[in-house]
Symmetry: C2
Amino acid sequence: MPDDRRLDVLRAIIEDYVSTNEPVGSKSLVERHQLGVSSATIRNDMAALEEEGYLAQPHTSAGRVPTDKGYRLFVDRLSTAKPLTPAERKAIESFLRGAVDLDDVVHRTVRLLAQLTHQVAVVQYPSLTRSSVRHLEFVHISDTRLLIVLITDTGRVEQRQLDLPGPLSDEAVADLRGRFNSRIAGSRLADAPQLLADLPDTVPADQRPNVVAVLSTVLETLVEHPEERVVLAGTANLTRTTPLDFPRTIRPVLEALEEQVVLLRLFGEVTDAQTVRVSIGEENVHEGLRTASVVSSGYGAAGTALAGLGVLGPTRMDYPGTMGAVRAVARYVGQILAEG
Amino acid sequence: MPDDRRLDVLRAIIEDYVSTNEPVGSKSLVERHQLGVSSATIRNDMAALEEEGYLAQPHTSAGRVPTDKGYRLFVDRLSTAKPLTPAERKAIESFLRGAVDLDDVVHRTVRLLAQLTHQVAVVQYPSLTRSSVRHLEFVHISDTRLLIVLITDTGRVEQRQLDLPGPLSDEAVADLRGRFNSRIAGSRLADAPQLLADLPDTVPADQRPNVVAVLSTVLETLVEHPEERVVLAGTANLTRTTPLDFPRTIRPVLEALEEQVVLLRLFGEVTDAQTVRVSIGEENVHEGLRTASVVSSGYGAAGTALAGLGVLGPTRMDYPGTMGAVRAVARYVGQILAEG
DNA sequence: ATTGGCACTCAGGACAGGTGAGTGCCAGCG
DNA sequence: CGCTGGCACTCACCTGTCCTGAGTGCCAAT
């Protein structure tokens, strides 16, 4: 039984629909592809595919349109990420290599992704919890006010101000700086609590309240409630979509994109930096994104992911191309960060 | 001659148009406002106002719509910024006071503005050039690699990595930290070049290449080419506009909003933190914003502006309300920054 | 200067008919 | 048994026509 042909038909329909943005009918399909059978046969196949839920008809006398389930099958079994051309790779690399600091890397990456894919791009800053401490700095602002600056190995900088219970001399600050850094510099932020647990015991009793205060601020704001950050680019690409892509308006999508929490959840379970994940239409948890697809990947210096990046667009999307671009960008960013 | 009435008519038309989003005709105008004259009289006035360029007709048999010139007159002479209610003020203040650091202040501010005005909000980070140095920190990364961290009085943190011409000992780094900070801590970043000019002369000759390298990096990246940053919120509000507001699509507006340069130029000549400026339609330099209006203000700790903030929306906008909100938010942010 | 009256304009909604791309089904063929 | 050509059917969409109503400009009268 030519079950294979049915899959060919599905693939052909998706390809046509993605490029023309119009429901595709049996006749135009046989014209544009060498399927070797007549349109009537295709019609039977299409009816079967619709029966199984891979296709749908906007209205009776129109062509077919892929369903979320159809796209899912396509992504899983009928296509693979399309590698970029050497020229594109070269352009990506040299563009990213021009960055001067982490902010710059992240912003360049997000713009690059938006431009390559013509979709909305999202990049998460390297997660604090998964980063290591490069240096912890304490700066005196006044007798009882201290500025804490944390610098991670990825170049991320976080700072907090803190009111001390008592005055602290410059020497004590320097001493503290040494104690903290010798214990946690080079370690992962997540391990900080254990490494620092007994630190208050090692200082003179009169300094203990200050040290406890500093320690708890550090742990609380940087380890327990680390601020995750994301940046966006290419929102304007959403306006190139048609009413067919987003039923009524792009409103709910734009609204979803404004909520950090929603964006972060896109990368929620990112753990490795190798695989590209695709979430299609109804598969998205967030209600406003039920008509959109997300192609995402982790990225990081080594194989483990530091954070996520990806793009978002209508379900009618060039999946192979998008996946290829996301994969490539994730790799290069990881590389750049590893060197930086 | 009742020239006054003509202005009343203009004001009434703008108010009606802003709230209904429909061209307003002479009849509905006399129904909704106590103008004390008949619709025929109003028609004459409207014809005159159109003659002078304050009104326009979408098509012959339709009501009138304000032109950019009409809005300009309205903003300059027919209205004033509408103060917020005490309840609103209270809400603003307590919301902003909850911020933990500068990033948080800026992000809360932009979200607040978007929510208050129902428009797209833009907030610029306190400009580096107008800030003072709180502390300059040098961190050893390797023998010949140094991390420079600048912390300003507004809480902004900038960092750069630098390859040194020769090795530098820990003591030398500490020495350098002292020399730099004793000269420029507390001074404005813009004054740094003069204050640091003779610094290389004060160190031993063998250290001079390193010091020169550090100095030039500091000056070049932080003073000569300071990275200005802006954040956005409320883009989704643009989708609440009608085709009447943005002729074809909101595309050019979204595109303009993605370019940092364009956004920064919105605040280009911001110098004082008192006045609220309004730029209407064609008055905007950027082409994509010719159908939009911008309401902006400087904000800063003292009377002088550190940076700009504002909102952007269709020319059909509640100017008094928006101006009131922008003014109030600018004041509160300034206040918070002055304390922090 | 203001007003009531009047003729005029024209976008937008309602309705009708025609067109064509698309479908499902079926009988016949290899 | 799968494929195909043929055929009747459906229905979105386009086009043209007509109608309505909100709105206008102009003018003579107050």
